[in-house]
Symmetry: C2
Subunit: 247 residues, 2 copies
Amino acid sequence: MHPLSQTATIRTGTSAPPAVLGRPTLASIFLGRPVESFEAGETVFWQGEAAREVFELAEGCLRLCRILPDGRRVVTGFIYAGAVVGVAVGSRHDCSAEAVTPVRLRRIDRRAFHAEVDRSDELRPQLLAMIQAEVSAAQAHIIMLGCKTAEERVATFLVTVAQRTGADLKSPVQIQLPMTRRDIADFLGLTLETVSRIMSKFKRDGLIAPVVQRTIRLRRMQFLQELTGEFDEDDGFTGCPRMASAH
Amino acid sequence: MHPLSQTATIRTGTSAPPAVLGRPTLASIFLGRPVESFEAGETVFWQGEAAREVFELAEGCLRLCRILPDGRRVVTGFIYAGAVVGVAVGSRHDCSAEAVTPVRLRRIDRRAFHAEVDRSDELRPQLLAMIQAEVSAAQAHIIMLGCKTAEERVATFLVTVAQRTGADLKSPVQIQLPMTRRDIADFLGLTLETVSRIMSKFKRDGLIAPVVQRTIRLRRMQFLQELTGEFDEDDGFTGCPRMASAH
DNA sequence: CGCACAGTTGATTCGGCTCAAAGCCTGTGG
DNA sequence: CCACAGGCTTTGAGCCGAATCAACTGTGCG
């Protein structure tokens, strides 16, 4: 029902026999733990707080943000249903996690989580892979902030969200943007006005079309991907790991 | 002899009995492997190349950089002696590693490395801690690129390098900057001219003083830390994990 | 209805980029 | 030993992309 719950959400009643008999996943560690709900705007954990627990987002969308002493804010990432948060941090959270939409999640003690992972030959590589994906996303973010123009950043953001849906990126994709312009701006290192202006320009140019509030349709994916600045005519979108190879 | 080999460099002749009998570390996995040398400017591994091996930097300094199709460059990080590189990546390197100074390193097959770590109850948490530090550094980089001014970025860079030396940050610190202005600029998301101008300004203001070529002395650490934008008068430098706590 | 909040759009400003020209080391060869 | 070349750095002048400041338009919601 909620927006952005398109990815594989683990829906398991406490009574239903969990998938523990099948292949264990990181998410399965949270089975049996009570589900908590947060209203949009509520904070799940705070920057600077001791990182005693890890969380599994069952439904909704979180923003991870960090505030500088003088009030400047950076959104370091958006978290969607199915993801596990709070693993790759030290003893304290370096950012706050705030609910963008109504959120449902489970939590478990960090030590217990790590003990469980450490015990399983199947889970250990999964954890590593998860953290690698996190590093990879951070890297991509650094590239964006380090050298892309405002237009390229917005295009990159839209394409990234579209990729997350798993849809075929050749044809038009419909995406949800539950976060505000300010959230997007703080994620992209821009102002909300600049984000708004560029979205308007993309609409004028027929690249995107509003569907309903906070839902848009990406109409010309190919062109959008070229606008990200990472598109090479010969080899296509060279997102994170792939690269223009020597012919 | 080489600059920037201030951190604990693992110096072990192949004949000397390695520290394997003591507590194993990630670095000890590389003991016995042959040491390779690279000239300044040479590339250790390439962006897009299959990531088949991990590396332990014994001496010197590497820059990790990523090139966009149109030639823009981002330096995602500098690696110093003692560090292990190439672990937290997927199947392909998402950036190249180039020698800033003459470099000496050891390499080992990724699978072998991971097998070794996976086998040891002591090494597994060390690997996790290492990757967490990497995530933390990436986060700090994102903050910097996301909302800091040019002056704050340069100050942050200088303070970060100073922290790495492990010196007491109250008193003046002497640091090596083996990389070029362009490297620093590409790391900070600025142009080399801007970096140069700001360094000149810091010199004029008595914050830093040149010692010899590529070596400077940070004379007023407190003030430099305030310039980073992460300094809070009450609680001091709120670098990565710590945070202004509720009193 | 009226308030609060998100988003859009316009006018103006400014920080950092671009372009250009010297300075400065380091190495090299006569 | 000096002259010269090439790369790195510094400094200046002008410009531009995005920020800032400000007004206005939806869009829920009590």
